[in-house]
Amino acid sequence: MSSYVLQQLVNGLTLGSLYALVAVGFSLIYGVIRLVNFAHGDLMMIGAFVTLGLVATGYVPWVIIPLLVLVGGFLAGATIERLAFRSIRNAPMITGFIVTLAVSVALQNLGILLLGGQPRNFLFPEVFRARVNLGPVQLGVIDLVIPAVTLLLALLLALLVKQTRLGLAMRALSENMLAAQLMGVSANRAVLAAFGLGGALAAIAGFFWGGKFGQIDPLMGLVPGLKAFVATIIGGVGSVMGAVVGGYILGIAEVAFVGFTPPSWSGYRDGFVFVLMILILLVRPQGLFGRDEEERA
């Protein structure tokens, strides 16, 4: 394979990792309570700005920052659930979706209000910005770190879902909320945990996004959030691991679109992603690993 192709693959893996991180949380939440959380992408923005804040203080060592971002994301996700989503848990689907839309708008505009609409940036330490040569390809250390961390986190999440009591509770709730509650499973706690975990993963994606692409602003979560939804559809809604796979597929597809079409087409990348989404929804709405019922009217 030519080095150009390999280079695109590397870029695709990095972008795909970020989509995967956001998509996984999204899928987890949907799996447990069937809520399409439109505000999920904005948790990425929160993670990015938490990073900015921590870096700006100058005190916090870089080793600790990602951990704090994870914690911050967890708390943000859980708080939002507790405040906005718990009350509407039994409301019709559309109400839930509208509330998530409202939360998203609120978060974005709070961001603009408190932080200003101007893009900001922070820089990862030298170590990560260094470039290495891996055979014919040149990549930043960060391009190795991002997929590695993503896969590690995905693995940990998979273990949690499969092997732990909490994971069992989530899987039971996902299948039959009433029966699960008859076993003494606390829906409140499991849902809170799902939102928290999703928030943590989205936040760390924001951390990486800011470091990789150099620019953050309060509206940054919108389009990636929607694209993460597309990734979830590709992987199959309801399948957490499918979301990871979907994220990578989408990332690689998007980079391939930009990399292998005439340069004048590159502005169409977002349109491409959503045309892809519509095609998938028409042809195979359950995605690759979809376990949910047919999503057709």
Partner: protein
């Protein structure tokens, strides 16, 4: 052990339960029979804390005092030994048999105790033990009932509420299930409240029974008495409601 006092439950404008009073004595088998739509499932859902009471009281007696069901969270009730085996079994088809049982004892954090409980369920229902790693969706109706029962037993219940255990099952299997239930009551002292459309079956094993129609209790007495009454037949068939 378990009582409902003039309980009224509303769904929208209808009174699905209308001033229902019944008591489930500890250590005995009680039956609640009636036609479809009489309110039997609603009664059970109210007793396990899933439905709010418009008026009236629901109380679970326990060694640590009485619990007001309407004010207690469902998981607290489970912890207090009140287990509800829902209509249609509702096993988790996508989870394994093992996981289903584990869920039954969800509130029990002692892994070894849970393992012992699982073994005792496998001893009771060998079929489940043979297929413990396969998904519950592959079980037959009767096997799912066994799983549902086993799952309920994992919680070491003091009171077991069963909603239509015979639903969709062949007579032979139903017999087997009821035998198990009677043995459960006799040997382990588990209090049972069995809701059934198959009134004969339930009343035969019951120490006492209630007949429900249109959200109200219309007959009560010992199992044997009720079996003999013509009015029971009427209520059961829904005639003259």
């Amino acid at each position: 052990m378990l009582t409902l006092e003039r309980a009224t439950v509303r769904r929208g404008q209808t009174r699905v339960l209308d001033e229902v009073s019944l008591s489930v004595p500890g250590g005995k088998i009680s039956a609640l029979v009636g036609a479809n739509g009489a309110g039997k499932t609603t009664t059970l859902m109210t007793l396990s804390g899933l439905l709010p009471l418009k008026s009236g009281q629901a109380v679970l007696e326990g060694p640590d005092g009485d619990l007001d069901i309407a004010r207690t969270a469902p998981d607290r009730l489970v912890a207090a030994g009140l287990i509800h085996c829902p209509e249609g079994r509702q096993v988790f088809a996508k989870l394994t048999i093992e996981e289903n049982l584990r869920l039954g004892a969800f509130l029990n954090k002692d892994r070894r105790a849970v393992a012992r409980l699982q073994d005792s369920v496998y001893a009771l229902f060998p079929v489940l033990g043979d297929r413990r790693r396969s998904s519950a969706g592959g079980l037959s109706g009767g096997e799912q009932m066994m799983l549902a029962l086993g799952r309920a037993l994992m919680a070491e219940p003091r009171v077991l509420l069963l909603d239509e255990p015979s639903l969709g099952l062949a007579p032979l299997i139903t017999d087997r299930i009821f035998e198990t239930l009677v043995a459960l009551n006799r040997d382990r002292g588990v209090t049972l409240l069995i809701v059934e459309q198959n009134a004969m079956m339930a009343l035969e094993v019951a120490d006492q029974g209630y007949v429900m129609a249109g959200g109200r209790i219309v007959e009560s007495g010992s199992g044997k008495e009720l079996l003999g009454r013509e009015s029971v037949l009427t209520a059961y068939l829904g005639v003259g409601m």
